[in-house]
Amino acid sequence: MSETSARAAFSRVHRLLTARNLIAAGFALGRLGVLIGVAYTILFPLLAKVSSSFMAEVDIFDKTVNWIPKHFTLNNYRNAIKYMNYPQAFLNSLGLTLGLSLLQLASCSVVGYGLARFFFRGREILFGAVIFTLVVPPQMIMIPLYLNFRYFDFFGLAKSLELNLLGTYWPLVLMGTTAMGVKNGLFVYIMRQYFRGMPRDLEEAAYIDGAGAFRAFFSVMLPGAMPALIVVFLFAFVWQWNDYFFVNIFAGSRELLPNALAELAGRYSRDLSIAGSEYVPRAHRSLLNNAGSLLLIAPLVILYIALQRYFIESVERTGLVG
């Protein structure tokens, strides 16, 4: 190495070691530390589930086994799939979730548009009502709602008629159609904000061409609101898929993934006791539950990784803030 190039290298190092660069490096290091800590906290339960779902029961009590199973097995998955009736429950859940999230998307976008563009008396009160539905915990109206659907008389309009809607999808469908599903108030809010931000020229052009409000909405406004519609649909899908509260109350007897997962350990031990085996220990149950939980969230993880752009840029895209 010649003297000049050594000097050049030295001066480059020297330039790099300015105070500003040192501070930047310090920040980068700190950021890395925080990120590692956050990653550890968020991924810990997920990784623990993955690793234990492949373990045999002896591995849990083996103190030398931490993360890597010694007795690798697929039995937990085999049992989870069998006792959750997975293929059937998966298809049922997929159909129900798709249908409900499309219904919610339709109702929330229509209502959001009505609140954003038309002036009528009571509009502000109605918007206040949207926010109010978000603030009241569903647990509070759970019992009356349950009874309304248990003895369904069209909300007191047809007293002689008493239908039991529990165990059918009707309660969930009714709630989805009327923007009352899981966190639907938030979706109405998002759609309203988005429609308010769209230029009025588009609709006015449609009106001049002789279109009515509905034509204008379907042919001009909806296509223009695609980013917000995608975001609302994705969130509706994810939250509906994850929902156990409403699904369990109104359709608890249906073979749906959350119900199946909740009953997994019970069904398994019932079968074992019929076969003459003793009580299934807690450790064994949690192995089974871990495999079942992963089977439930796997479709969401795939969806999230494939479409992460839409989830993460969602708030910016919809202009929720502005």
């Binding site: 009241v136 709630m175 009327t178 923007a179 409000a213 898929w241 997962l261 439930l296 993460i312 910016e316």
Partner: protein
């Protein structure tokens, strides 16, 4: 004359359209929300009996409330604890999500991956999966091992370290509590981070450019531009965090209310509990809004 007639007609049609478009919500709100809401309040003053043909109500006055407050052994304790935890969590979640949003807004390699990671808990917050996690032998034993033996932040070591620093006892307790609940804080910050991130990106760059011309430092920019511009979103996030904790199925009080409904306490008492809980949290929400909106800065 003619023009005003046309205008009136137009206004009338607009109102009709608005009512038609919002009709799904109006119906849903009336029949699937307001009616059960009022019924819940009525139920809380009655004893509810469910038979094979409908249900019957016996008026009980404030009996259910008295029962909930003075007879049910766990209710008041759980209520106070849940509320205290929420009051502690809100500032921590807010600080963490603010800090994270500022960090995730800087350009650095792997930023997309970091954002995907921070937001993962929102996707995976499945009610039933979280419920099973509480009763999970493996995760529990792994967690206790990490904490006692090889965890990189041992709570005990931290406590001893903070004692050496001679911090005041109150502050020490707060730091310990904050560290202990770090997983909960991190996992419930996803949406708040997104809201702050969007806010950061909507601040016009011209403000920072003007500050640069005036010779503002990064520190001054933060206090004079970033924080005031984000202050409306701080309010939004406070409200979101309180509501989120209110409806969280992991919430101990929510679980107690649910258990009471199907247990010996009965529907009436359970409904009385949820009415009390709702009123309490609603009051906190209003107080928080009143306090925070005083120093919220609106750009327009």
């Amino acid at each position: 004359m003619r023009i005003s007639k046309i205008r009136m007609k137009k206004g009338h049609r607009e109102a009709v359209n608005g009512i038609i478009f919002t009709l799904p919500f109006t119906l849903g709100f009336t029949f699937l929300f307001l009616r059960p809401f009022v019924q819940a309040i009525i139920f809380s003053f009655h004893n509810l009996q469910i038979g094979s043909h409908g249900y019957s109500l016996d008026f009980a006055g404030f009996g259910n409330y008295v029962n909930a407050l003075f007879v049910q052994p766990e209710f008041v304790r759980t209520w106070v604890e849940t509320t205290a935890q929420m009051l502690l969590n809100v500032p921590l979640i807010l600080a963490f999500s603010f800090f994270s949003a500022v960090m995730l807004n800087q350009p650095f390699r792997g930023r997309t991956a970091a954002r995907v990671l921070y937001f993962l808990p929102v996707i995976l917050a499945s009610g039933i999966v979280l419920q099973l996690e509480q009763d999970n032998y493996f995760i529990e034993s792994l967690r206790s091992m990490e904490e006692t033996e090889q965890g990189f932040i041992s709570l005990q070591t931290l406590g001893v370290f903070l004692m050496r620093l001679r911090l005041p006892a109150g502050l020490l307790e707060f730091i310990m509590a904050a560290v202990q609940r770090a997983p909960v804080i991190i996992r419930s910050s996803g949406v708040q981070i997104l809201v702050f991130l969007a806010g950061l990106q909507s601040i016009p760059p011209s403000l920072y450019e003007a500050a640069d011309v005036e010779g503002g430092t990064a520190w001054e920019n933060f206090w004079m531009i970033t924080l005031p511009m984000l202050s409306p979103l701080i309010l939004t996030n406070i409200v979101y965090t309180i509501v989120d904790s209110l409806v969280d199925p992991q919430n101990e009080l929510v679980q107690l209310i649910r258990k009471s409904a199907f247990g010996s306490a009965g529907y009436g008492v359970s409904t009385a509990m949820s009415v009390l809980y709702f009123i309490g949290t609603f009051a906190i929400l209003l107080i928080a809004i009143a306090i925070v909106s005083k120093w919220v800065f609106y750009h327009e």
